[in-house]
């Protein structure tokens, strides 16, 4: 059970290491949509994503004994880079299992932070068996990307920082993949800003959170298909109950809305967000009538995209 003190302690531990990222507004977007939007820019965070919050919290709360043996995880993306950097800050070893299909830029980022990489076949079974061998061999502590209380408490700090600056939000929307950011945000609001209604936004092509809530049990994400490559994972045993208890609702969005939202933020705010980050904005675009006249916070979760493979066509 993660309590109020856990969230405050997480922020104390990590705040000197991470950026208190800016909250930006865009007058032109507000004028077009007739609402007040506030964007917490975790794309401008270290490693380009909120993931450094949870990873730093998890690494910096290890026992002295655990530290000796280092940390390990499997991830094709931002959590791997975040764990690698947090481990480097603490000068402890980091082992990362990455699918051989991982983008070269992400592999290079993880390697650049000094982690030891082991490649595996691109499926869940291979990830887990490869990781298990490493855990046996090294004695490292497995830091799950989201199903971990330290990670959830760490991710809650983005909402804490945002609401300290803009306390009177009516809604706060985050993307939902494994649910680490959403469950952390839910706890932050529940404990400190209970007037804020928290919404999870999810691609239609990876709507396991939406279906899990409908059926009151974790529905795994089977062959998800979406451009939002950070949202392919399924909810976990720790994140699902928090979401189930506190979330206002889950909104699912179309792929075309994600690209439209991403382009709108790039063009009008001049900041780079990855497709997963655009999913809450897509939810707003698909539900303009509902959100009109409201004060809405959005957590822009990350900005790691391959600039050579953008979904914007010439002449659009």
């Amino acid at each position: 059970m993660i309590n109020r003190a856990d969230l405050l302690s997480a922020h104390q531990i990590i705040k000197g290491l991470i950026h208190n990222t800016p909250v930006l507004t865009a007058a032109s977007i507000n004028a077009i949509l007739e609402m007040d939007l506030y964007f917490k820019c975790e794309n401008l965070q270290k490693v380009g994503a909120f993931k450094i919050r949870g990873a730093t919290h998890a690494v910096f709360t290890l026992s002295q004994t655990e530290m000796k043996f280092g940390v390990a995880t499997h991830s094709s993306g931002n959590h791997a880079a975040a764990l690698a950097l947090a481990a480097r800050w603490k000068k402890i070893p980091a082992e990362v299992v990455m699918p051989i299909s991982s983008p070269r830029v992400k592999v290079e980022a993880v390697r650049g932070y000094g982690a030891n990489i082991t490649f595996c076949e691109p499926n869940q079974e291979a990830r887990e068996s490869t990781l298990n061998k490493i855990l046996e061999k090294t004695g490292a502590t497995f830091i799950h990307p989201y199903n971990n209380e330290k990670i959830i408490a760490g991710q809650s700090t983005a909402a804490l920082e945002m609401l300290e600056k803009i306390p009177n939000l009516e809604y706060l929307i985050t993307p939902v993949g494994g649910g680490g950011l959403l469950s952390g945000t839910l706890l932050a609001c529940q404990y400190f800003y209970p007037h804020v209604r928290v919404i999870g936004a999810e691609p239609q092509g990876a709507d396991d959170a939406f279906r899990s809530l409908q059926q009151n049990r974790i529905i795994p994400s089977i062959s998800p298909k979406t451009i939002a490559d950070g949202l392919l994972t399924s909810l976990g045993s720790l994140t699902f109950p928090i979401i189930q208890q506190y979330v206002d609702k889950i909104i699912t969005v179309k792929e075309t809305s994600i690209i439209q939202a991403m382009r709108m933020v790039w063009e009008r705010m001049k900041i780079i967000i990855e497709p997963s980050s655009a999913v809450p904005m897509a939810a707003v675009l698909e539900n303009r009538d509902f959100f009109q006249g409201k004060r809405i916070g959005i957590i822009l979760s990350g900005g790691n995209v391959d600039l050579g493979k953008l979904p914007f066509n010439s002449g659009d």
Copy 2:
């Protein structure tokens, strides 16, 4: 003659209308280049460029009579959008002459702010003759994009804000096109932060400022060729003497360096800058030995790019 009080007055007049944009740093870029870089993010400014500073100052200091007849300008880009928005704030008409070759995103911005657009052939003569006809017909006041004291004083405020936050810079680098931003920055430093050495950065393919300083007279920019579409213009009779008197030096850069610098800022800082904005960073990349160990400010002048026409190749 623009004096200290003019700069302070400009800031007083515009500061409630514009953003005091953030100054960002990038740990990974500093680590790679072994220097301390500070980026004043005018790409996050209203209209996506510093130009709103000068335009707002010019519009808000018009006489009541001048206001009646509105304002006019010729510009391929950001100044046009800025003047259009400032005029809309004051509820006065704005006429803009734009070359038919202007980037789509910039034309749409100008139109969105409610200015009346007249297109012309993409050369200086056509710009001026088209504008003159409009001035005769409307009686509007011509607000030159840079050769105007109100504009120069307005552009100085980006450096004033930046140095208020980070006073101990050793160098401050701006791009140079017509010289409005550079001359304003030079005056800001000369009057308030004389220890800061100000450098202008310019594409080799549009090196009229470099040649003008060498030959002690304004050398017009003839058929400039560069991806930095905001830097095609020649120095003016007001900007050249300021630059001549106070600038530390002009550094010219290759096109490949501009694209490399632009990509580095996009990838590592997750912010969108237009090619003209990348020219100071390109100057740093081409002169790493010179800048190593120094504290360097860079004014990122704008972020208006066509997302459908980016200079990044797949697989780079």
